[in-house]
């Protein structure tokens, strides 16, 4: 039923140097999004050098052979472009949405930093951005209520040496220690056309857009494939728990489980289960914990779309007087039931409708649509696989979801982090 609205045509092309190009014309607005994904993230780092992929993202806005320091933003903002970058465990992207007649400018800028970055790198620029990133870490993590919970959760969920064990933004020590030699080596290993996907969505003709892509990117040499990422086979044994004291008023509990990777049908089952359990006011966790027992202020369950393997994270924030153990116990009742009983067909239908409408709403925006295509191409190898998830939504049965929960949500193999108000606000761990 809803599928007919989700099918949109795209053109895929691979340049001789290995750059994957995905083009999706849409003339509804005179805008174009240029979204360049590099298949490198914090998973490609190693202990002692954490935070590098993200710090590197900052360095890519510091100019290249033909673009001044901050020239990237200056060129784009003066023509009404909106630009930024982002880094996650698996990938880093750089994107801009510009008035359609400035497409060539965006391609020139992205090609210059893909092909000609190193001549413009200096230790002064690195020094400045290290300071900026340390302030970013303080702002987002260290000086933020619950800020350290998520990195603690990943630390417990994935064993030492696992590429998801350390935080994407890295540790303060590692950020402070990054050198110009690190920048160069990282660039040469990962920032190659054969490790990138360039997606264009918006008001252009595919032939002329592809000609411009060829003009700016075709002569940038490809390189060796990046070094493989080793994933240790060994797992943690047993449930791992941590209690963090923080400058908060409300207790919060997190429980996380390792699930199969993004792109598998089991991951989609996790996505549907997450929606079924806690999305919306008529979901069972909301009805019970927030509406009924009133021991939670909010509750959420999310399946994270990561590549080596996924994770399912359950979180709930209590009221000031809520006992965090009672809150976890209540969450566990729902997780236990999910392992035991299949969803009612009506509840599955409700999730499906919600997931599909949310998807259609995302597709309205050029930048989000570009990300959907780029994600499928980068992580799953094929832009058309964005649709897998949608097909799977309509295919998955209540029993599939129960079987997934029974197999994966084992309380004896999970990480639990509880954040509680600190007793003495004047003292912090350092």
């Amino acid at each position: 039923m809803i599928h007919r609205h989700l099918d949109f045509p795209f053109v895929r092309h691979r340049l001789a140097n290995g750059l994957e190009v995905v083009l999706q014309p849409d003339s509804r607005l005179p805008l174009v999004t240029v979204d360049l994904w590099y298949h490198v993230g914090s998973k490609n780092e190693r202990p002692g050098k954490t935070g590098f992929a993200h710090l590197f993202e900052h360095m890519l806005f510091q100019g290249s052979a033909n673009v001044d320091t901050n020239g990237h933003f200056t060129h784009l903002q003066k023509i009404g472009g909106v630009a930024n970058g982002s880094t996650s465990h698996d990938r880093t992207n750089y994107y801009e949405t510009v008035p359609a007649h400035h497409l060539e400018l965006a391609l020139w800028l992205e090609a210059d930093r893909m092909g000609f970055l190193l001549p413009a790198m200096t230790s002064a620029k690195l020094e400045n951005q290290r300071e900026v990133v340390m302030n970013e870490r303080r702002q987002r993590v260290d000086n933020q209520p619950y800020g350290r919970a998520f990195e603690t959760l990943n630390e417990l969920l994935f064993p030492a040496g696992h590429p998801y064990h350390w935080p994407v933004i890295g540790t303060m020590e590692d950020i402070a220690a990054a050198t110009l030699a690190d920048v160069t080596a990282f660039f040469e290993a990962h920032y190659r056309p054969n490790n990138a996907v360039l997606t264009l969505v918006g008001d252009f003709h595919p032939d002329s857009a592809l000609a411009l892509v060829e003009k700016y990117f075709a002569d940038i040499p490809g390189g060796d494939p990046p070094p493989p990422v080793a994933t240790p086979a060994a797992s943690h044994a047993g449930e791992r728990r941590a209690v963090l004291e923080d400058a908060v008023r409300l207790p919060r509990v997190y429980a996380a489980y390792r699930v199969p990777p993004f792109g598998t049908s089991a991951w989609t089952a996790a996505d549907v289960l997450a929606t079924a359990l806690a999305s919306g006011k008529s979901s069972p966790m909301y009805r019970d914990l927030v509406y009924g027992r009133q021991i939670a202020q909010n509750v959420s369950v999310a399946a994270l779309p990561t590549e080596l393997e996924g994770s399912l994270v359950v979180a709930a924030t209590g009221h000031p007087e809520t006992d965090p153990d009672e809150l976890l116990g209540a969450l566990d009742e729902h997780l236990e039931r999910a392992r035991r009983e299949a969803l009612a067909a009506r509840d599955l239908e409700r999730c499906r409708n919600g997931l599909l409408t949310a998807y259609v709403e995302q597709l309205q925006r050029f930048d989000l649509r570009a990300d959907i295509l780029a994600q499928a191409t980068t992580l799953l190898g094929e832009p058309g696989r964005y649709a897998d998830r949608l097909l799977e939504y309509s295919r998955v049965s209540p029993e599939d979801i129960r079987a997934f929960a029974a197999a994966t949500l084992a309380p004896e193999d999970r990480a639990v982090v509880t954040v509680v108000p600190r007793a003495d606000p004047g003292r912090r761990r350092t």
């Binding site: 809803i2 609205h5 607005l29 805008l31 033909n66 320091t69 901050n70 060129h75 903002q77 003066k78 023509i79 009404g80 472009g81 630009a83 008035p99 359609a100 007649h101 400035h102 497409l103 060539e104 400018l105 020139w108 210059d112 020094e127 951005q129 300071e131 900026v132 302030n135 702002q139 260290d142 000086n143 003009k215 075709a218 002569d219 400058a247 908060v248 008023r249 409300l250 919306g280 008529s282 009805r287 202020q297 009221h319 000031p320 239908e349 409700r350 409708n353 919600g354 599909l356 409408t357 949310a358 259609v360 709403e361 597709l363 309205q364 925006r365 050029f366 007793a423 606000p425 003292r427």
Partner: protein, 456 residues
């Protein structure tokens, strides 16, 4: 392929952007109706706007409008809270009730095949909510917990103290939109009913519909669901007073002894959204701190590296909302940061911007406009502003021309007024022991312990 990469390529032929034509069909005794057809997507987005917001909340009931808006979808004549949520989810819809200083909004969207059910539900929620006392108690408890949570967020704490200093205790703008714990605790069910009755009148209400629909369809449905609408049963509360005149510059340190960073706000009263100089003030603010390449960000982030980012904003309200500069910065660099921010404000206020900077700013404003109109809700939000701020029907069409006609002198004139530094409120949330000496030079300094810090 060999070519010169040293210069940026020129633009191709401009593809002009025009805001879509919307229709304004009249419905006797009903709300104002605005319909914008966007047949490309099989979706429809409805927004019902009640055109009075939190700026008329009594100061001893701060948070009334935000709490009232939250209560709208907790029950109607025929449906209780969970039945509403169940209906929404069966339709695969998203429903949001929200409030700001100038309006209350019920937004509901889904596939356009569900339009009749969506419009009916939206009308029930916006016009005929049952505002049940039991749900009020539940929501009040959630809101108090949320306020407790926000009080642990440094940016929220800094923002609340800054507007508190700027507007004082007797003006609605002197607190968060969510209100205060005292205000939220005091609100009773009768007050919420009166709050709604005063706002839900045809002459204050607008129905915005965007997407795969038509004016005829919307009018037919509105006739059915907005009919028999008494409206206007309660008197509107008075308009807010003029903000107080600002005293000389003040510095407030909210003490958080162990904080890893200092959260900073520098604020004063800005222009009202309808003021003639508002567009020039927006441009002055953009150049100062409204984009990545602003003077403030290039200085404090890219030159000094003392912050992840600094930005300035205009309140953009019906009344004279706040202008403020915000950043989280190295505690050791707080004094230097404040000095640089004040110097940038003085510099912007004392000389017209160079031609290139001015033109870059103008094309940024014009060029980014369609970016915010990619989705139906973005379009609906823009239409809602036409109703709320009494904008003329050609407002968006004439916007590029009005931006283009701004001169360096216009910007300088508005900056001189907007960016005065002698009456600023400077608020820093962080360790007072390390901040006091750094901030003393900037004005009369007061240190408060942080009432939100756990166990203080």
């Amino acid at each position: 392929m060999s070519f010169d990469r040293s210069l940026p390529p020129p633009p191709a032929a401009v593809r002009p952007f025009r805001f879509g034509r919307w229709e304004s069909p009249r419905l006797e005794g009903g709300p104002r109706i605005m319909v914008l057809r966007e047949p490309g997507v099989p979706l429809v987005h409805l927004e019902i706007v009640l055109g009075i917001g939190a700026d008329r909340d009594p100061v001893d009931r701060r948070g009334l409008t935000a709490l009232g808006a939250g209560l709208l979808d907790e029950g109607t004549a025929g449906l209780d809270a969970l039945a509403i949520a169940g209906t929404v989810e069966q339709l695969g819809a998203s429903l949001e009730t929200a409030a700001d200083w100038d309006g209350v909004y019920v937004a509901i969207s889904s596939l356009s095949e569900h339009l009749p059910a969506l419009l009916e539900l939206g009308a029930e929620i916006a016009l005929r909510p049952s505002l049940p006392a039991g749900e009020l108690e539940r929501l009040r408890r959630l809101r108090l917990a949320e306020l407790a949570h926000r009080a642990s967020q440094p940016d929220f704490v800094a923002g609340v103290h800054a507007v508190g200093l700027v507007y004082g205790p007797d003006h609605p703008y002197g607190a968060s939109l969510l209100g205060t714990a005292e205000g939220v605790a005091a609100i009773d069910a009768g007050e919420v009913r009166a709050w709604h009755a005063a706002r839900a009148r045809p002459e204050l209400t607008t129905l915005v519909a965007v997407g795969d629909t038509s004016a005829e369809e919307i009018v037919a449905l509105a006739r059915e669901h907005f009919a028999g609408w008494p409206g206007g049963a309660a008197a509107l509360p008075p308009r807010p007073p003029e903000p107080p005149a600002a005293p000389s510059r003040r510095v407030l340190v909210v003490d958080r002894p162990g904080a890893d960073q200092t959260e900073l706000r520098i604020a004063r009263i800005g222009p009202a959204r309808g003021a003639p100089e508002y567009l020039a003030a927006r441009l002055a603010n953009l150049l100062l701190g409204g984009k990545f390449t602003s003077r403030l960000n290039l200085n404090l982030r890219e030159r000094l590296g003392i912050t992840y980012g600094v930005h300035s904003t205009l309140g953009g309200r019906r009344g004279r909302g706040p202008f403020s500069v915000s950043c989280a910065l190295d505690t050791e660099a707080a004094g230097r940061g404040v000095g640089e921010i004040l110097a940038e404000m003085d510099r912007m206020a004392s000389a017209p911007p160079p031609a290139e900077e001015l033109e870059d700013g103008k094309s940024y404003l014009t060029g980014t406009f369609p970016y915010r109109l990619q989705s139906l809700d973005g379009l609906a939000d823009h239409l809602a502003t036409v109703a709320i701020y009494d904008r003329p029907d050609d407002y968006f069409d004439s916007l590029p021309g009005r931006i283009a006609s701004l001169t360096a002198e216009d910007v300088a004139r508005s900056a001189a007024d907007l960016l005065r530094t002698d009456d600023l409120a400077i608020v820093a949330v962080g360790p007072a022991a390390r901040l006091a000496r750094q901030l003393e030079p900037f004005g009369a300094l007061e240190v408060r312990s942080d009432p939100a810090s756990p166990s203080s």
